[in-house]
Amino acid sequence: MNKIIALTTAFCLALGLNADNYMTKTGTVKFFSHTTLEDIKAENRKVVSVLNTATGAMEFSLLMKGFDFANQLMEDHFNESYAESDKYPKASFKGSVTDIAKVDFTKDGTYTANFSGKLTIKDVTKDITGVAKFVVKDGKATATSDIKVKPKDYHINIPATAGAKIAEELTVDIIMDYTKK
Protein backbone atom coordinates (compact mmCIF):
# COMPACT_ATOMS: atom_id res chain seq x y z
CA MET A 1 0.00 0.00 0.00
CA ASN A 2 1.58 3.23 -1.03
CA LYS A 3 1.88 6.31 1.14
CA ILE A 4 -0.95 8.32 -0.42
CA ILE A 5 -3.50 5.52 0.00
CA ALA A 6 -2.22 5.05 3.54
CA LEU A 7 -2.51 8.78 4.26
CA THR A 8 -5.99 9.03 2.81
CA THR A 9 -7.10 5.94 4.70
CA ALA A 10 -5.66 7.32 7.92
CA PHE A 11 -7.33 10.68 7.25
CA CYS A 12 -10.69 9.00 6.68
CA LEU A 13 -10.33 6.59 9.59
CA ALA A 14 -9.46 9.49 11.89
CA LEU A 15 -12.69 11.14 10.84
CA GLY A 16 -14.88 8.08 11.02
CA LEU A 17 -16.74 6.04 8.44
CA ASN A 18 -15.95 6.66 4.78
CA ALA A 19 -19.61 6.68 3.77
CA ASP A 20 -20.18 9.93 5.64
CA ASN A 21 -17.15 11.75 4.35
CA TYR A 22 -17.23 14.86 2.21
CA MET A 23 -13.93 15.95 0.71
CA THR A 24 -12.33 18.72 -1.31
CA LYS A 25 -8.91 19.30 -2.79
CA THR A 26 -9.88 22.74 -4.05
CA GLY A 27 -10.78 24.51 -0.82
CA THR A 28 -9.80 28.14 -0.48
CA VAL A 29 -8.19 30.00 2.41
CA LYS A 30 -7.69 33.75 2.01
CA PHE A 31 -6.18 36.23 4.40
CA PHE A 32 -6.48 39.96 4.45
CA SER A 33 -4.51 42.57 6.32
CA HIS A 34 -5.69 46.17 6.45
CA THR A 35 -3.71 49.14 7.70
CA THR A 36 -3.87 52.79 6.73
CA LEU A 37 -0.59 52.33 4.82
CA GLU A 38 -1.34 49.17 2.89
CA ASP A 39 -3.83 46.39 2.23
CA ILE A 40 -2.34 42.94 1.80
CA LYS A 41 -4.27 39.90 0.63
CA ALA A 42 -3.36 36.40 -0.45
CA GLU A 43 -5.26 33.31 -1.51
CA ASN A 44 -4.58 29.58 -1.43
CA ARG A 45 -6.95 27.67 -3.74
CA LYS A 46 -5.64 24.14 -3.17
CA VAL A 47 -6.68 23.36 0.36
CA VAL A 48 -7.39 19.68 1.12
CA SER A 49 -10.18 19.04 3.60
CA VAL A 50 -12.32 16.16 4.82
CA LEU A 51 -15.57 16.53 6.76
CA ASN A 52 -17.38 13.64 8.40
CA THR A 53 -21.05 14.56 8.29
CA ALA A 54 -21.99 11.99 10.95
CA THR A 55 -19.51 13.01 13.65
CA GLY A 56 -18.71 16.55 12.52
CA ALA A 57 -14.98 15.81 12.55
CA MET A 58 -13.21 18.12 10.14
CA GLU A 59 -9.61 18.60 9.04
CA PHE A 60 -7.84 20.67 6.47
CA SER A 61 -4.27 21.18 5.40
CA LEU A 62 -2.57 23.59 3.02
CA LEU A 63 0.85 24.38 1.64
CA MET A 64 2.21 27.76 2.75
CA LYS A 65 3.91 28.26 -0.61
CA GLY A 66 0.48 27.92 -2.20
CA PHE A 67 -0.55 31.42 -1.08
CA ASP A 68 -0.88 33.60 -4.15
CA PHE A 69 -0.18 37.32 -3.73
CA ALA A 70 -0.83 39.97 -6.36
CA ASN A 71 2.66 41.30 -5.66
CA GLN A 72 5.64 38.94 -6.09
CA LEU A 73 7.82 40.87 -3.64
CA MET A 74 5.16 40.50 -0.94
CA GLU A 75 4.92 36.78 -1.68
CA ASP A 76 8.69 36.38 -1.41
CA HIS A 77 8.76 38.25 1.92
CA PHE A 78 5.86 36.17 3.23
CA ASN A 79 7.56 32.86 2.40
CA GLU A 80 11.09 33.82 3.38
CA SER A 81 10.74 36.19 6.34
CA TYR A 82 7.37 35.58 7.96
CA ALA A 83 5.95 32.12 7.25
CA GLU A 84 9.42 30.55 6.76
CA SER A 85 7.75 28.21 4.29
CA ASP A 86 10.84 26.10 3.63
CA LYS A 87 11.05 25.22 7.33
CA TYR A 88 7.31 24.98 7.94
CA PRO A 89 5.75 23.94 4.59
CA LYS A 90 2.23 23.18 5.85
CA ALA A 91 -0.51 24.63 8.03
CA SER A 92 -3.39 22.54 9.28
CA PHE A 93 -6.64 22.52 11.21
CA LYS A 94 -8.05 19.58 13.15
CA GLY A 95 -11.36 19.88 14.92
CA SER A 96 -15.06 19.42 14.51
CA VAL A 97 -18.34 21.04 13.67
CA THR A 98 -19.76 20.79 17.15
CA ASP A 99 -23.42 20.89 16.15
CA ILE A 100 -23.25 19.12 12.81
CA ALA A 101 -26.78 17.76 13.33
CA LYS A 102 -28.08 21.24 12.45
CA VAL A 103 -26.93 20.66 8.86
CA ASP A 104 -29.09 18.37 6.72
CA PHE A 105 -26.76 17.19 3.97
CA THR A 106 -29.62 15.40 2.22
CA LYS A 107 -31.69 18.55 1.75
CA ASP A 108 -30.81 21.67 -0.22
CA GLY A 109 -30.64 24.71 2.02
CA THR A 110 -28.48 27.10 4.02
CA TYR A 111 -27.47 26.17 7.55
CA THR A 112 -25.19 27.56 10.23
CA ALA A 113 -23.17 25.57 12.74
CA ASN A 114 -20.36 26.13 15.21
CA PHE A 115 -16.90 24.66 14.94
CA SER A 116 -13.86 24.43 17.16
CA GLY A 117 -10.45 22.89 16.89
CA LYS A 118 -6.74 23.39 16.73
CA LEU A 119 -5.02 25.49 14.10
CA THR A 120 -1.33 24.78 13.54
CA ILE A 121 0.96 27.25 11.78
CA LYS A 122 4.76 27.11 12.03
CA ASP A 123 4.44 24.18 14.45
CA VAL A 124 2.48 26.38 16.89
CA THR A 125 -0.97 25.05 17.75
CA LYS A 126 -3.78 27.25 19.08
CA ASP A 127 -7.44 26.61 19.84
CA ILE A 128 -9.90 28.40 17.59
CA THR A 129 -13.68 28.58 17.42
CA GLY A 130 -16.06 30.00 14.86
CA VAL A 131 -19.34 29.83 13.03
CA ALA A 132 -19.64 28.24 9.60
CA LYS A 133 -22.32 28.64 6.99
CA PHE A 134 -23.18 25.51 5.01
CA VAL A 135 -24.90 25.76 1.65
CA VAL A 136 -26.14 22.34 0.54
CA LYS A 137 -27.11 22.07 -3.09
CA ASP A 138 -27.38 19.13 -5.48
CA GLY A 139 -25.49 16.80 -3.16
CA LYS A 140 -22.59 19.20 -2.67
CA ALA A 141 -21.89 21.29 0.41
CA THR A 142 -20.01 24.57 0.54
CA ALA A 143 -18.82 25.60 3.99
CA THR A 144 -17.68 29.17 4.58
CA SER A 145 -16.37 30.90 7.65
CA ASP A 146 -14.03 33.65 8.73
CA ILE A 147 -11.72 33.74 11.69
CA LYS A 148 -9.26 36.22 13.15
CA VAL A 149 -5.61 35.22 13.45
CA LYS A 150 -2.84 37.16 15.17
CA PRO A 151 0.52 36.48 13.45
CA LYS A 152 2.47 36.87 16.68
CA ASP A 153 0.45 34.01 18.26
CA TYR A 154 2.08 31.71 15.71
CA HIS A 155 5.60 33.10 16.10
CA ILE A 156 5.31 35.12 12.91
CA ASN A 157 7.57 37.97 13.85
CA ILE A 158 7.06 41.18 11.96
CA PRO A 159 9.92 43.68 12.23
CA ALA A 160 9.11 47.19 13.48
CA THR A 161 9.96 48.64 10.05
CA ALA A 162 7.17 46.60 8.44
CA GLY A 163 4.83 46.64 11.43
CA ALA A 164 2.89 49.69 10.30
CA LYS A 165 2.01 47.96 7.02
CA ILE A 166 0.78 44.65 8.49
CA ALA A 167 -2.26 44.39 10.74
CA GLU A 168 -1.84 42.86 14.21
CA GLU A 169 -4.87 40.71 13.47
CA LEU A 170 -5.58 39.15 10.08
CA THR A 171 -8.99 38.21 8.73
CA VAL A 172 -8.90 34.68 7.36
CA ASP A 173 -11.71 33.51 5.04
CA ILE A 174 -12.26 29.78 4.67
CA ILE A 175 -14.28 28.33 1.80
CA MET A 176 -14.58 24.55 1.39
CA ASP A 177 -16.42 23.17 -1.64
CA TYR A 178 -17.13 19.62 -0.45
CA THR A 179 -18.36 16.73 -2.52
CA LYS A 180 -19.38 13.37 -1.12
CA LYS A 181 -16.76 10.61 -1.28
Binding site: N2, I4, L73
Partner: protein
Protein backbone atom coordinates in the same frame (compact mmCIF):
# COMPACT_ATOMS: atom_id res chain seq x y z
CA UNK B 1 20.78 77.30 2.33
CA UNK B 2 17.87 77.36 -0.13
CA UNK B 3 19.90 75.28 -2.58
CA UNK B 4 20.54 72.70 0.16
CA UNK B 5 16.82 72.36 0.90
CA UNK B 6 16.03 71.89 -2.78
CA UNK B 7 18.70 69.18 -3.14
CA UNK B 8 17.43 67.41 0.00
CA UNK B 9 13.85 67.52 -1.30
CA UNK B 10 14.92 66.22 -4.72
CA UNK B 11 16.83 63.35 -3.10
CA UNK B 12 13.83 62.52 -0.88
CA UNK B 13 11.42 62.53 -3.84
CA UNK B 14 13.83 60.38 -5.87
CA UNK B 15 14.20 57.93 -2.97
CA UNK B 16 10.46 57.59 -2.46
CA UNK B 17 9.89 57.19 -6.21
CA UNK B 18 12.56 54.50 -6.52
CA UNK B 19 11.18 52.62 -3.50
CA UNK B 20 7.64 52.79 -4.93
CA UNK B 21 8.88 51.59 -8.31
CA UNK B 22 10.83 48.71 -6.76
CA UNK B 23 8.01 47.53 -4.50
CA UNK B 24 4.91 48.19 -6.58
CA UNK B 25 6.14 48.06 -10.18
CA UNK B 26 9.28 45.95 -10.65
CA UNK B 27 8.77 43.80 -7.55
CA UNK B 28 5.07 43.27 -8.19
CA UNK B 29 5.60 41.32 -11.41
CA UNK B 30 5.41 37.58 -10.89
CA UNK B 31 8.40 35.49 -11.86
CA UNK B 32 8.09 33.78 -15.23
CA UNK B 33 8.99 30.08 -14.91
CA UNK B 34 10.07 29.93 -18.55
CA UNK B 35 12.68 32.63 -17.91
CA UNK B 36 14.21 30.85 -14.95
CA UNK B 37 17.92 30.09 -15.23
CA UNK B 38 17.68 27.23 -12.74
CA UNK B 39 15.08 24.91 -14.15
CA UNK B 40 14.94 21.33 -12.88
CA UNK B 41 13.65 18.80 -15.39
CA UNK B 42 11.68 15.90 -13.95
CA UNK B 43 9.06 13.36 -14.97
CA UNK B 44 5.68 13.70 -13.22
CA UNK B 45 5.76 10.10 -11.98
CA UNK B 46 9.24 10.46 -10.55
CA UNK B 47 8.35 13.78 -8.91
CA UNK B 48 5.35 12.24 -7.19
CA UNK B 49 7.30 9.15 -6.12
CA UNK B 50 10.11 11.28 -4.70
CA UNK B 51 7.63 13.19 -2.53
CA UNK B 52 5.63 10.21 -1.34
CA UNK B 53 8.70 8.11 -0.53
CA UNK B 54 11.00 10.74 0.98
CA UNK B 55 8.98 13.89 1.64
CA UNK B 56 11.62 15.74 3.67
CA UNK B 57 14.35 15.32 1.10
CA UNK B 58 11.90 16.10 -1.74
CA UNK B 59 10.89 19.29 0.07
CA UNK B 60 14.53 20.35 0.13
CA UNK B 61 15.10 19.36 -3.47
CA UNK B 62 11.95 20.75 -5.11
CA UNK B 63 10.00 23.21 -2.92
CA UNK B 64 10.07 26.73 -4.31
CA UNK B 65 12.08 25.62 -7.34
CA UNK B 66 11.05 26.01 -10.95
CA UNK B 67 10.36 22.56 -12.35
CA UNK B 68 9.97 21.51 -15.96
CA UNK B 69 7.63 18.56 -15.66
CA UNK B 70 6.84 16.05 -18.38
CA UNK B 71 3.74 13.88 -18.08
CA UNK B 72 0.40 12.65 -19.36
CA UNK B 73 -2.71 14.74 -18.73
CA UNK B 74 -5.23 12.86 -16.58
CA UNK B 75 -7.68 15.71 -16.02
CA UNK B 76 -8.30 19.32 -17.06
CA UNK B 77 -10.37 21.62 -14.83
CA UNK B 78 -11.45 25.20 -15.37
CA UNK B 79 -12.61 27.13 -12.33
CA UNK B 80 -12.94 30.91 -12.04
CA UNK B 81 -11.17 31.37 -15.38
CA UNK B 82 -8.15 29.40 -14.19
CA UNK B 83 -7.05 26.06 -15.64
CA UNK B 84 -5.68 23.29 -13.47
CA UNK B 85 -4.04 20.39 -15.28
CA UNK B 86 -3.50 17.08 -13.52
CA UNK B 87 -0.60 14.89 -14.62
CA UNK B 88 -0.89 11.14 -14.08
CA UNK B 89 1.35 9.26 -11.67
CA UNK B 90 1.75 5.57 -10.81
CA UNK B 91 -0.59 6.18 -7.86
CA UNK B 92 -4.33 5.68 -8.35
CA UNK B 93 -5.19 8.57 -6.02
CA UNK B 94 -2.40 11.11 -6.40
CA UNK B 95 -1.48 13.42 -9.27
CA UNK B 96 0.86 16.29 -10.03
CA UNK B 97 -1.53 19.22 -9.98
CA UNK B 98 -0.48 22.18 -12.09
CA UNK B 99 -2.32 25.48 -11.64
CA UNK B 100 -1.80 27.37 -14.88
CA UNK B 101 -1.01 31.00 -15.43
CA UNK B 102 -4.18 32.67 -16.75
CA UNK B 103 -2.38 34.62 -19.50
CA UNK B 104 -2.34 31.73 -21.96
CA UNK B 105 -5.83 30.31 -21.32
CA UNK B 106 -6.56 30.04 -25.04
CA UNK B 107 -3.72 27.51 -25.41
CA UNK B 108 -4.95 25.36 -22.52
CA UNK B 109 -8.43 25.14 -24.03
CA UNK B 110 -6.88 23.11 -26.86
CA UNK B 111 -5.34 20.48 -24.57
CA UNK B 112 -6.74 16.95 -24.45
CA UNK B 113 -6.81 14.39 -21.66
CA UNK B 114 -4.29 11.56 -22.15
CA UNK B 115 -2.00 13.70 -24.30
CA UNK B 116 1.60 14.22 -23.21
CA UNK B 117 2.77 17.69 -22.28
CA UNK B 118 5.70 19.47 -20.76
CA UNK B 119 5.19 22.48 -18.54
CA UNK B 120 7.16 24.66 -16.17
CA UNK B 121 5.99 26.04 -12.84
CA UNK B 122 6.86 26.71 -9.22
CA UNK B 123 6.72 23.71 -6.90
CA UNK B 124 4.73 24.20 -3.68
CA UNK B 125 5.15 20.71 -2.23
CA UNK B 126 3.03 17.69 -1.36
CA UNK B 127 -0.45 17.93 0.12
CA UNK B 128 -1.99 14.63 -1.04
CA UNK B 129 -1.07 15.75 -4.57
CA UNK B 130 2.11 17.52 -5.64
CA UNK B 131 1.29 21.15 -6.40
CA UNK B 132 2.83 23.48 -8.93
CA UNK B 133 1.57 26.99 -9.59
CA UNK B 134 1.96 29.75 -12.19
CA UNK B 135 2.63 27.03 -14.74
CA UNK B 136 3.21 27.63 -18.43
CA UNK B 137 3.41 25.22 -21.33
CA UNK B 138 6.92 24.46 -22.52
CA UNK B 139 5.61 22.82 -25.69
Amino acid sequence: MKKGIIITLLLAVTGVSLTYWYVFVKGAVHHDPLKSEQLLQVDAKKLFNDYTQFEDSANKLYNGKVLQVKGQISQIDLQNNRYTISLATDDAMGVVLCEMDTIDNAQYAQLKVQSNIELAGFCNGLNFDVYLDRCKLVK
